[in-house]
């Protein structure tokens, strides 16, 4: 992680991950709604899949393009 903090792409990567965690902690207030995505997917599942997708994309870009030890 020390190597990630040492350059701008790494810091951007960490900020994105951090903001996604904050977002996950913020959205549960809307989980009282019984909205079903695609007719079956409950909101905590949908929120988590988006969260994982954000981490996945950020990781792919950073680790395959910028990570110093790649």
């Amino acid at each position: 992680m020390r190597e990630i903090l040492k350059h701008t792409p790494g810091r951007i990567f960490l900020i994105i991950l951090f903001l996604s965690v904050v977002g996950m902690l913020f959205v549960p207030r809307y989980f009282t709604s019984k909205v079903l995505v695609f007719g079956w997917m409950t909101l905590p599942l949908a929120a988590g899949l988006i969260f994982i997708f954000v981490w996945l994309v950020a990781y792919l870009i950073y680790f395959f393009k910028y990570w110093p030890y790649r």
Binding site: M1, R2, M24, P28, F31, L43, P44, I52, Y59, F63
Partner: protein, 492 residues
């Protein structure tokens, strides 16, 4: 029929362990860390199924069945926690252990902080929290065994313990890791196959039909806070934070040290995100939150709810498939408990016996102590679980996870922060541990929070504050744990 199939399954484990014994190099590094040769695919199965215990078949879907979908936040936190371990801490821990031939992560921290006392405290603390956890697995299998065969719980528990001991005693870390591919495949096909089969048979409209049924019969199961009002936003957030602390589970941390090369850390998160987060963990989620309540609503009582998937399978699917599913549950239990058992025996032999009493012991002796200690650990853990089975479920979420978290600040700081000191690590760890024990005895000390939250905050604040007010680590330590690691990782 059941006995024959389970005997064949046991035989497969025995052959696997015997093969591992035959090919092992008989060195401590080979027995305990698979000779540091684990590649990314084996590592993925190793870690995924070291984490996916029988809890993913019983406790997790049972809790979703009772309280609705928000419990999945623990999984989202855990997936991020495991990925963070491999992305942020893993490369440095792996590099420093490889450069200095460290075998245990506790050994790494005791050297980093130059503190045998920290080694003693961490060893005892981690053993205290991991040992009862091991016993939960065979006991869980015993309940499934009883439901299917009618045999007493202890028979299934002893069967599982026998498999565990054979696998770990003979095979060591390499076969535990490879074995997790076989065990994980059995478990994944059992839980996924049963889900597809039940949906096809009872819900021709698929998951949409399940959700629509619940919308009519029990809509509270489709949202937070759930039918019993448990999952308020603050609890959901806390559940995710507890999951994030998965990076500190000792049996997962030690997996990092078995890696073949640094490229593993580049590829591993991909598998965790795609196959772990998106695919594997959504199977028990769909089972517990949608399919089980739609197919068999109205089940009450914790034990009955925990066994909801097994009950549905036993009642509606053919007998031979129920046996296969039980085999899958045994596989899940063994794959987790084997890694925990091996981690415990490494701590006993490497950190306690060799670290304090026999520093110059030969490898063959270290391996012998590890094998003897694993038998002691398994007997102790099973004894504790049988003696007090009801408390064990609570032990996992309320004690084990907060307990594991208490070495988190020293671990993270030791690997990433040059200024972290021995005094800071000792003060933070001890304060967090004492606070946890005191709070478990007198609950108001936690101020209505999950035990992990206040204890980890106190631990972390003290670690940082005391480190700032005490002399920094020596130049030799800074060079060994930071400069040399940087150079090693930067090399092509």
């Amino acid at each position: 029929m059941e006995i024959i199939i389970l005997s064949l399954f046991g035989l497969a484990i025995l052959l696997l362990a015997a093969y591992g014994y035959k090919i092992s190099a008989k060195t401590a590094e080979d027995y305990m860390l698979a000779g540091r040769t684990i590649g990314v695919v084996v590592m993925f199965f190793f870690i995924l199924f070291a984490v996916s215990s029988s809890w993913t078949f019983y406790g997790y879907p049972g809790f979703l069945y009772l309280h609705g979908p928000a419990y999945i936040y623990f999984i989202w936190g855990s997936v991020a926690g495991f990925a963070a371990l491999y992305m942020f801490l893993g490369p440095r821990l792996w590099a420093v252990a490889r450069l200095n031939r460290y075998i245990s992560p506790v050994e790494v921290l005791s050297e980093r902080y130059e503190s045998p006392l920290l080694r003693l405290i961490l060893s005892i603390m981690l053993l205290a929290f991991i040992v009862p956890y091991i016993g939960i697995q065979p006991l869980g299998v015993g309940l499934g065994f009883k439901a299917l065969t009618g045999l007493p719980v202890i028979v299934g528990a002893l069967y599982t313990v026998a498999l565990l001991v054979i696998l770990v005693f003979l095979g060591g870390m390499r076969i535990v890791a490879w074995g997790n591919i076989f065990l994980g495949a059995v478990y994944a096909t059992a839980i996924l196959g049963s889900l597809i089969w039940v949906v096809n048979r009872f819900l021709p409209g698929g998951l949409t039909e399940a959700a629509q049924n619940l919308m009519v019969s029990n809509p509270e199961l489709l949202s937070a806070p759930g039918p019993l009002g448990y999952f308020k936003p603050v609890i959901i957030g806390g559940t995710m934070v507890v999951g994030l602390l998965a990076f500190s589970w000792p049996h997962i941390v030690i997996g990092v040290m078995t890696a073949r090369d640094k490229l593993l850390f580049k590829w591993f998160p991909l598998l965790i995100f795609v196959f772990g987060g998106v695919f594997f963990y959504t199977i028990p989620f769909i089972w517990g939150s949608l399919v089980a309540p739609a197919v068999m609503p109205g089940v009450v009582g914790k034990e009955a709810v925990d066994s909801i998937i097994q009950t549905i399978i036993t009642k509606y699917l053919p007998g031979w498939f129920s046996i296969y599913v039980l085999m899958g549950v045994i596989a899940a239990a063994v794959s987790t408990a084997a890694v925990q058992l091996l981690t415990s025996s490494i701590i006993v032999s490497r950190d306690l016996i060799q670290g304090f009493f026999k520093p110059d012991a030969a490898d063959i002796k270290i391996i012998r102590w590890a094998r003897l200690s694993l038998i002691g650990v398994v007997v102790l853990s099973l004894g504790i679980s049988i003696w007090n089975p009801m408390a064990m479920a609570l032990y996992l979420t309320e004690v084990t996870i907060p307990g594991f978290a208490q070495w988190g600040p020293a671990l993270v700081g030791g690997l990433l922060w040059k200024r972290g000191t021995k005094q800071g690590a000792l003060t933070g760890t001890l304060a967090g541990l004492i606070y946890l024990i005191a709070g478990l005895i007198y609950r108001p000390l936690f101020f209505e929070m999950h035990p992990v939250m206040p204890t980890i905050i106190v631990n972390m604040v003290l670690y940082i504050a005391v480190s700032f007010f005490t002399p920094p680590p020596s130049e030799e330590i800074r060079s060994k744990f930071f400069d040399e690691v940087d150079d090693f990782l930067a090399a092509k």
